[in-house]
Amino acid sequence: MARYGQELEAADIGVFVVGFDEFLKLRDLRDRLESPFVFLRDAPRSAYLAFGLGRASALRTYLHPNVLGSYARLGFNGHFPRLSKNQDRRQLGGDFVVHRTGEIAFSHPERGPEDRAPVRTIIAAALAAQGG
């Protein structure tokens, strides 16, 4: 999404990345991606809950073919996830376009870990909501 940064900035659309992990991990991710976006933390996951983001089944979390494929690709490229014992790997994420007033213009709560909305779809929804 960072490649659309200038387009989004010109349209006065902010991008906010929310995680529930420790600050250190969020900071590390932001730095690793050289992300220009605002990173936020929701440790109690109250926002996750408010946006209707649930948890995937263990089967879908670990054995969905797309999940296995993505781990295989990462491993092939020399990147091995740094997993730790207490991580909640079943918590799902999602993508939303939200007006400052709280109205939601686009909503994609993940149904499984492989179910991310295409970036271009999110950008198009945001630009449309902004009247662009």
Binding site: D12, G14, V15, G93, H99, G102, I104, I123
Partner: protein
Amino acid sequence: MIDSPGPDIKTISFEMIDRGVFRIGEMRQGLGIIVFLRYIG
């Protein structure tokens, strides 16, 4: 327009990783893309 899942969306507090608190209702831009992550590996 999709209805907000609750009346409190704009008042939910997030911790900013650099410092301070962020609320959707207080964002500088009129519109925001919010990306909720899963665990960070």
